[in-house]
């Protein structure tokens, strides 16, 4: 049976620029969905040949959305290269504070400005009524809280690194500089308010799910294993720890798997139609072994959260949504539980006098290889480097969170299209729902460039052999041409 390609391009309100191709057969059944992401090419090549000590700085430029995650995970890998197996306590706390602030601000932006219009106004409502302006007009307190939570996280990052971007915070074996009481004080004044707002938003997430429970739990429903870091006691762990994998039923497949042995845990498959690789769990094989990472994965696979209000929220989530929860829309609720955890953890750290300590760097015997793993806002992030005798990078392997969710996003889109595509006619409603499905994963398409006029939008219809049947382009000024 022949297939026709229905192409939706791009996906608005997703990081960067994406394109979706739906393959439908003669009967109009969606057999495959392909989310095309073109901007990951060249990362490893960009890094190779550089001196290793530059990496924590250089990798910040790979992604304009989560530069801090790349900065910290590269620093973790470089710690190993300089032979440091344990940071000083003050350096570790500063890095953790940075990381919590990064995850908090990223989650806040996504929930309040990208996801909340869908959640508040309904997934079927017109696009022009389903955006952040409508949120501001109808729920102004939600919009302003979102901006302020994000600003709070950004200001912590700026305080630690000294600059908004390209700051020098983590260095090989430690941190560059401590905080000062003057820098910490404003955050101490605000953090309780931030915690309260995050907790209110967790409750709002549940309320919004409950208002349309069947839709939320069935929309694009797929089942998969989950992977993420946990601490040594099985707790939610965003900065350090070892890997845990659970299957779709919640059974633990791997636990306390050492991060530096990740090549034995996962492999990467290449497909001809995508620049982005398709990782899979070695023990389950390429067909069955794809998995999910990110907030939903982390909430599903941890045994507890080590801050009280977030832990209470996790328990309520599991009671409501099951364990493990699989619906992609539950990523939003899980995301805000993590935001609450980050806010609580930030409050704890701000009270710690170690943030003022100058005992910030360790040294060791240089190694030729380093592997850093961290839980970035969107999921597990791997940086793997090898260097030569001249201290230059000879091998770099980066597995970003969005890559790990690649197959899951494709399958979710396929499921949504199967549920909502009528024949071979694209409708604005279907486009909305495909976007909603992708947005749940908060993918970072990572073009990290935004120059004016750089992002025209296209909608294409093609046959399997590549013949174009139709094409729409939405330009940056909003007008659409055929």
């Amino acid at each position: 049976m022949s297939e026709t390609r229905v192409v939706i391009d791009p996906v608005s309100r997703v990081e960067g620029h994406g394109k979706v191709t739906l393959l439908v057969n003669d009967a109009g059944i969606v057999t495959q969905a392909r989310l095309h992401i073109v901007e990951f090419r060249g990362f490893e090549k960009f890094i190779q040949g550089r001196p290793y000590w530059e990496l924590p700085m250089v990798v910040q430029r790979l992604c304009g959305i989560c530069p801090v995650s790349h900065h910290l995970v590269a620093a973790k890998a470089i710690d190993q290269i300089v032979g440091v197996t344990a940071l000083s306590a003050p350096a570790l706390k500063l890095r953790r504070l940075m990381h919590f602030a990064q995850v908090l601000q990223s989650h806040a932006l996504h929930f309040f400005h990208l996801a909340s219009p869908d959640l508040l106004f309904g997934f079927q409502s017109p696009v022009e009524q389903r955006n952040i302006v409508a949120v501001i007009k109808q729920q102004p307190q939600i919009a302003i809280k979102g901006v302020k939570i994000r600003k709070f996280g950004q200001q912590i990052l700026e305080a630690i690194s000294g600059k908004r971007i390209h700051g020098m915070a983590a260095i090989p074996g430690g941190m560059n500089a401590p905080l000062t009481p003057e820098k910490i004080q404003p955050f101490k004044q605000d953090v309780q308010q931030i915690i309260d707002w995050c907790e209110e938003t967790v409750k709002l997430s549940r309320q919004l799910t409950d208002q349309n429970r069947d839709f939320h739990l069935q929309f694009g429903l797929i089942e998969s294993p989950f992977m993420g870091l946990v601490g040594k006691n099985g707790e939610l762990e965003l900065y350090d720890g070892n890997l845990r994998v659970i299957d779709a039923r919640g059974n633990i497949l791997q636990d306390q798997f050492p991060c530096d042995q990740y090549p034995q845990l996962i492999q990467e498959q290449v497909k001809s139609w995508s620049y982005m690789k398709f990782p899979f769990l070695t023990q389950l094989g390429s067909e069955q072994g794809w998995y999910r990472v990110g907030p939903l994965a982390r909430i599903n696979l941890c045994d507890f959260i080590p801050t009280p209000r977030a832990e209470q929220a996790r328990q309520q989530f599991r009671q409501y949504a099951g364990a493990p929860a699989h619906s992609p829309l539950l990523f939003h609720w899980a995301r805000m539980i993590e935001a609450l955890h980050c806010a609580e953890a930030i409050a704890d750290l701000l009270a710690d006098p170690d943030l003022l300590s100058t005992d910030l760097q360790r040294s060791g015997i240089k190694q030729k290889e380093g592997i850093g793993v961290i839980e970035a806002p969107r999921g597990t992030l791997f940086h793997h480097y090898q260097i030569d005798a001249e201290d230059r990078v000879t091998m770099a392997n980066l597995i970003v969170s969005t890559t790990s969710n690649n197959q899951a996003m494709n399958d979710t889109i396929r499921k949504v299209a199967q549920q909502h595509l009528d024949g071979q006619t694209l409708t604005p409603e279907l486009l909305n729902l495909v976007e909603v499905a992708i947005r749940a994963y908060d993918p970072c398409l990572s073009c990290a460039t935004h120059a004016v006029g750089k992002m025209p939008l296209q909608l294409l219809l093609q046959t399997e052999s590549g013949n174009s049947l139709d094409q729409l382009t939405r330009h940056t000024d909003g007008h659409i041409s055929r």
Binding site: E15, G16, E128, V147, D190, V452, G453
Partner: protein
């Protein structure tokens, strides 16, 4: 958490790892070297415009957004920016018009007069260094921004 008032808030955007997208950062470095601290200028450099930048604009007498653009027909552009009537937002790309809309809706007051200065680039791939076209346009943009700042400062006195 509001920032301290400034006479003129200047937002420079770009990613130095993305070829000519670095134009904004180059303009930021230029302005840092040209403008003394006491000049009443608030200089912001970031990867892209984000919602929280409304706080940086709050209290300013004027705002200037500096970015690269991809338009072979126009080397350097200086245009006034008005608050949009629709909002385009992603955490990757928030147009200046949308930021001003967000400002006005959030604070319930008109945004200050704002301007967009863009310089044309031709290469936005993952590599460092400006193209010859971007270098030429950078020099033009540097001269233009100083001229415009002088006009804005005179208008404010």
């Amino acid at each position: 958490m509001a920032t301290s008032p400034a006479d003129i808030a200047i937002f420079c955007f770009g990613n130095a790892a993305r070829g000519d997208d670095a134009l904004g950062e180059h303009m930021h470095a230029f302005l840092q070297s040209q403008l003394p601290d006491s000049h009443g200028i608030r200089l912001i450099c970031d990867f892209q415009l984000e919602p929280e930048h409304i706080f940086d604009l709050q209290g300013a007498r004027a705002g200037i957004f500096i970015d690269a653009h991809e338009d072979a027909d126009s080397d350097v552009q200086w245009t006034e920016v008005k608050a949009g009537t629709t909002l385009t937002i992603s955490s990757h790309h928030l147009p200046a018009e949308s930021l001003l809309y967000l400002y006005e809706e959030t604070f319930g007051e008109p945004a200050p007069p704002c301007y967009l200065l863009t310089a044309a680039g031709e290469n936005f791939e993952l590599e460092e260094g400006l193209s010859a076209t971007a270098q030429r346009n950078l020099r033009v943009a540097q001269e233009l921004i100083l001229e415009k700042l002088a006009q804005l400062e005179l208008a404010g006195n």
